[in-house]
Symmetry: C2
Subunit: 372 residues, 2 copies
């Protein structure tokens, strides 16, 4: 058989849209001895993960856990468990990730009402209000809290107020938002909320924190059709994370021990402190990058500090500069997606990445590349 | 916020149905520095993973990769990509995992013809032949190669011969089989085959190796309906693992670097050598456990060496003995599922677990527990 050499990764400073830099303690935690997914010791770890996730989501939702897949698996879990064929679903689409929610809802049999907005703009709460008036039967309104393709920070509170006393659920994608900008699941009346580990939590990719409100659980309990996914069916998975610990699938125990360590770091820093750190570092970067002939593509007043979409003028070859940044400086940033492909960067200052010294390193490298 | 202590796992000898013991080199590989999923270095690692998986699956299938989820996500990927609503699907059901394939196929809209057999028995190839005569329109025949709930080693070659010149696909679950017992994807004419990392590959749980034959790819390309899962849609995922490296979801890079190291160990040992080691160690255990008043629940002649279902007589409290084995000896074995719950153990001697000394440790502990 053909042998290959061991994989020895180059050292990278990860300032793209994810994965973000991971603290050595988290990597070390993943390398501890493996235990079984039904081991009583491990079930205690799972309980602590759920408890810390509740603190970070700012919720008392019982049904809070980590999906055994990446953030996109969290998205699919959120959608397929509450949507049934024929349901009306209102989705804000102002970037890649709103589009994915719409796509997934259609695959689950929903009639999707897409509220399209230009990339880089928020979905105005008034648009959701009008859509709700036109479609009072809507099962669900879905918005992306932190659009990773544009860097927009979507306001959520007004829509939460609008929906809280209705039968309509509020589904929120906070893959890039959680632990980076304020999010209040209970206070804002959010019902189904998912994230990913490889953004502001600074844990390797592969798990998707998720939480369901009692209102969402009631909708799941009243389903008349079977969930289209076996793997992501919450009715089965919650028996593992909940009381009777029934086997559903083999939980990824080493990755979860890594997540446990990463959540401990978030809790130790304090959520407000972490939000403030992201705000300060992101603002610093956004101020200074504009001095480099670049523009910020997200709407003013609604910019995520942890994910900035940077538009380059025509005379800058963003792809070439991005490759040189990786190869010569060991710094990863992301390219633009969709509308922004070929003209923009996505710069992530997330979790362990959100420091003044990283901003300095990036700006110095950019200056050298722009000169050279 | 409430803080919790770091998770320091107890040392366990994992001789249950998975996860199996993991070599320290694999754990160390997972703890190397994190890289991005679109980093050119990482894409090279992904290519090497696919290449090693082809060697271990014994296939030249181009579409061979690791699903970003556990073995059950591999199962769902296999089923939902080839099944469309209204398709007839023939599924052998002689344990938990055949039942899951049937369930998942139904969720994908299939009409399932379940070939039920008693737990611990194979699905006779003649039954498949009769079912194919009754349902020549069948899109798919699905069998479980290595039934983790019973320890049965399902013969596959005759069914492969039967289907190879038809339009019907052959789907095989080898979650517990791969790298533990002979499997020949190409020579046996298997079309959609999936596994898990936490069994005979001895890699932590969280990824599902999968391979699709050109015949299966052609079926996927001819679909008239959209795949019901966005996350597991092969038509999108293959653009990441294949030529143009399009972003679909953030690949779990650290887990994949761990898989790379685990596959290197399989290739270095040699597949036939690894099969022979599992055969020898499993047979040793199966011979000796029968001297302890226990019976083997899988049909003679079709017993997996790497996963043994052990039936205990009425006077043995298997649950109590299993708990004591974990707590006092640090050895994990699994309890029975379904029909076998409360009366049986499932003993895995898989990957790094398949050694003479582990069999000795387990038998000594069993003897002490049976005496005490």
């Amino acid at each position: 058989m053909d042998t290959v050499d061991a994989a020895t990764p180059p050292t990278r400073l990860l300032l793209g849209p994810g994965p973000s830099p991971v603290h050595p303690d988290v990597l070390e935690a993943q390398a501890r001895s493996v235990v079984g997914h039904l081991d009583p010791w491990f079930l205690g770890v799972a309980d602590e993960i759920a408890s810390m996730l509740r603190q970070i989501f700012r919720t008392e939702n019982q049904l809070t856990y980590a999906v055994s897949g990446t953030g996109s698996a969290g998205m699919e879990t959120a959608v397929v468990n509450v949507v049934e064929p024929g349901d009306t679903v209102i989705v804000g689409v102002n970037g890649v990730f709103g589009g994915r929610i719409a796509d997934t809802a259609r695959r689950a049999g929903a009639d999707v009402v897409a509220l399209e907005e230009p990339w880089g703009r928020i979905v105005p709460p008034e648009r959701v209000e009008s859509a709700m008036k036109a479609h009072p039967e809507a099962k669900l309104v879905a918005l992306v809290h932190a659009e990773t393709s544009t860097g927009v920070n979507q306001p959520l509170e007004e829509v939460g107020q609008l929906l809280k006393d209705t039968d309509t659920l509020f589904l929120v994608d906070t893959v890039t938002g959680l632990a980076g900008v304020p999010l209040e699941v209970d206070a804002w009346h959010l019902d189904v909320v998912y994230s990913g580990t490889q953004k502001c939590l600074s844990v390797p990719p592969g798990l998707a924190p998720i939480t369901f409100s009692p209102k969402a659980e009631a909708v799941i309990d009243r389903r008349s059709s079977t969930v289209r996914s076996w793997y992501l069916d919450v009715s089965a998975v919650r028996n593992y994370w909940g009381g009777d610990r029934a086997y559903h699938h083999t939980a990824p125990t080493t990755a979860l021990v890594g997540l446990h360590e990463g959540l401990r770091k978030v809790v130790a820093e304090g959520l407000e402190t972490r939000w403030a750190r992201h705000a300060e570092v992101g603002q610093l970067f956004q101020e200074h990058i504009q001095d480099r002939d670049a523009t910020l593509l997200a709407q003013e007043g609604y910019r995520l500090p942890q994910l900035t979409s940077v538009g380059w003028p025509d005379h800058v070859d963003e792809g070439k500069m991005r490759r040189r940044l990786l190869e010569e400086y060991g710094i990863e940033v992301g390219g633009g997606l969709g509308t922004f492909a070929g003209t923009a960067w996505r710069v992530g200052l997330m979790g362990e990445g959100a420091t003044h010294s990283h901003v300095d390193r990036l700006l110095e490298a950019v200056d050298e590349l722009l000169e050279g």
